[in-house]
Symmetry: C2
Amino acid sequence: MDAAEFRRRGKEMVDYVADYLENIEKRQVYPDVEPGYLRSLIPEEAPEEAESYEDVVKDIERVIMPGVTHWHSPYFYAYFPTAHSFPAMLADMLCGAIGCIGFSWAASPACTELETVMLDWLGKMLKLPEDFLAGTEGRGGGVIQGTASEATLIALLAARSKIVKLIQADHPDRSETDIISKLVAYSSDQAHSSVERAGLIGGVRMKKMPTDSKFSVRGAALQKVLEEDRAAGLIPFFFCATLGTTPSCAFDCITELGPICNAEKIWMHIDAAYAGSAFICPEFRPLLNGVEFADSFNFNPHKWLLVNFDCSAMWVKKRSDIIGAFKMEPLYLKHDHQESGIVTDYRHWQIPLGRRFRSLKMWFVFRMYGLKGLQAYIRKHVGLAKEFETLVRADQRFEISADVVLGLVCFRFKGSNELNETLLKRINRARKIHLVPCQLAGKFVLRFAVCARTTESRHVQEAWSHISHLASELLQELPH
Amino acid sequence: MDAAEFRRRGKEMVDYVADYLENIEKRQVYPDVEPGYLRSLIPEEAPEEAESYEDVVKDIERVIMPGVTHWHSPYFYAYFPTAHSFPAMLADMLCGAIGCIGFSWAASPACTELETVMLDWLGKMLKLPEDFLAGTEGRGGGVIQGTASEATLIALLAARSKIVKLIQADHPDRSETDIISKLVAYSSDQAHSSVERAGLIGGVRMKKMPTDSKFSVRGAALQKVLEEDRAAGLIPFFFCATLGTTPSCAFDCITELGPICNAEKIWMHIDAAYAGSAFICPEFRPLLNGVEFADSFNFNPHKWLLVNFDCSAMWVKKRSDIIGAFKMEPLYLKHDHQESGIVTDYRHWQIPLGRRFRSLKMWFVFRMYGLKGLQAYIRKHVGLAKEFETLVRADQRFEISADVVLGLVCFRFKGSNELNETLLKRINRARKIHLVPCQLAGKFVLRFAVCARTTESRHVQEAWSHISHLASELLQELPH
């Protein structure tokens, strides 16, 4: 395919994409296929000879679409949203065309520099403390990670490296493995599975902290376990706080936890993967109070800020902490400017070496929506969640299982877990909408997350009347 | 921006991309900007109000392009190639539009299933042993990782987890940290920095093996260090072999190393990040002989197989090894089919949770080039490297520093390292072409990697006459 054909096919693809998104409501949100459906639809081997583009494109509807879960359908209420917008898609086209690999400043200066400035822009939108911004003279700064899982892992590894160096400075004879064997990290028992996984990867103990009735970790709980662990000869070094947990969008109490972490020299990382986007609204910014105590902070614009996956924004107060954990300088990656101290080589900030020009999509989205447009988008989703909450509360058969703070509503039948499991199964088998469950305090709970950019009040009303109808059917079948 | 405006702007962007790529030769391959250039060109904060698309697009040439290193210019010969093709860009547009997050089968069955089948297609193109393929009943299979760094890390972590379980099965009283403190991994002293980094992250010793005159690790070298390390009470558990090292595209002797690893129950991972693409050609496939001894194998179609970044293909013989290292099952990620044993949930295979629909671009590229088209592409690049090698060899002032096997030529002045450093500086400062250096056996060496899809003989000839001219200038300035 040459550039001339790409002009033609690219424009056809733009239309296909626009058609797909304009008509996404008409597609069944969750597919009917059984595991293994796809293999039999295509050949067992790649073709020897080139095929025509027409043949490939025909197969999108025949092979791919029947097996797609449509995350951008307004009938999709599962997991958390994944962001999606036209400006982000345009920027991604440009990103693909430039196709640079931005592992160092020299590998493509624009790729690195736009990223640093976009993370400053975004940090200012969130009113992050100045310490987290790069500016022209800051010691902190931001970076785009692929996912929140990677941000948590990077923070944990940086904290591990820092505590080992700190202890070895006083006890040069203590081996790294000996120190690591005594380390202990903490997170909420509501924290995402990726936090526990970061502990596994880093080879350190990870203790899950109990939460209060609002599913928040409180300062007293941390204080208690720290005393026990210090007494047992362990070395607390890392606390991963969650703002907006995956099960119920609960918020750890970082105004209590932060001062304890600071006093005890424990690295506090904040994972606000979903909720972070909301902090650009003044009315939700108080949820971030306490961030000033954190060493690192992360959230996913690719969840709720209209920037397509992947774009997980992470800031650190001292970039030397994160760089110091990994820095390696083979000759083929050295360049003239790096000794100047004023360039950023993002390869030292992340697990992979390669990286795409992802800040372009932030730049397009921030400019084409403006801060006000982004705030309006967040508020619309929160409003839709509140609308759904009101519908649930008006139905005596149901209960709300956790405070509705942002775009997630946790609700359930007043009844057994089995009953709720059956309801969820029926909802998903009906294929009209798609939800996933969670467990809260031993209860099986349904999660209703406002996800798609195009979700409107009518979709929420429809979703509720559908759920309510299935609920009535189910209850009628029960023996009284 | 609504779908109607996206139709218009998307088509304009397609033309911009086609224009950029058709005229990329006219742009200076390496930018003139100084560190910090970009910040002053744009506002300090995101706009409050939305801006027009015209304003954003105008800034591409004003702000971004002056700071881009043009990796797809035929004057770019630095690092290794990063892949780029029109079919891959079209598939990426579709990927962005579908915008699903494929962490589990249920999250989008097509995303998972196409990936499994594409990795089988690619495995067959490489003539990988059957064990590495998923098929319908295989115990192995492939996965798309973001980068080779992540593949190496995942392999090391899986191996770490496996050896710990194995030892604890016989010695249930031995703690994980005690075992990990005795583990030792190995790689070539020519291995990529990411391999050493994987050891750091995993908290295990990583020993660099000496290489022979061809920069290859040989069996005898491994045998020797294993005996020493076992005698010292260490537990060898992981060997990362490299096929096509970054400095000189050298090949570790896996036909010697593999049997040793198998006999000693050491996990052998093969990193063929760059060279792997060439193994689709029968004449280069012998370089992969010995893969049958490996536990895991990885290479980057996003380097040299026309599939845009990111797309790093990894295969394992036993997928239970890799899944077992990380499996976590929170309720919100469970789905009906997973207990059936016939679905793949790729989140257990990788560091991140989220993942894009990256197999679409493999599918588009494999079909639109066909195996023959892909082979022709590899052969063309190797031919261009051989052409450059011939030019260097014909000049008595220069020497070839390592065998030219694929698309990389390592060469230098017959003279001091300082002289070669000066030559490289002048080459890069002239901005006509872009190269990076490496170090081979203490010598400063220039690397000439055939990178761009559109590089032709005339570009290679031009590049050499330019280098030769700068060399003459430099030599004339020297005192005799």
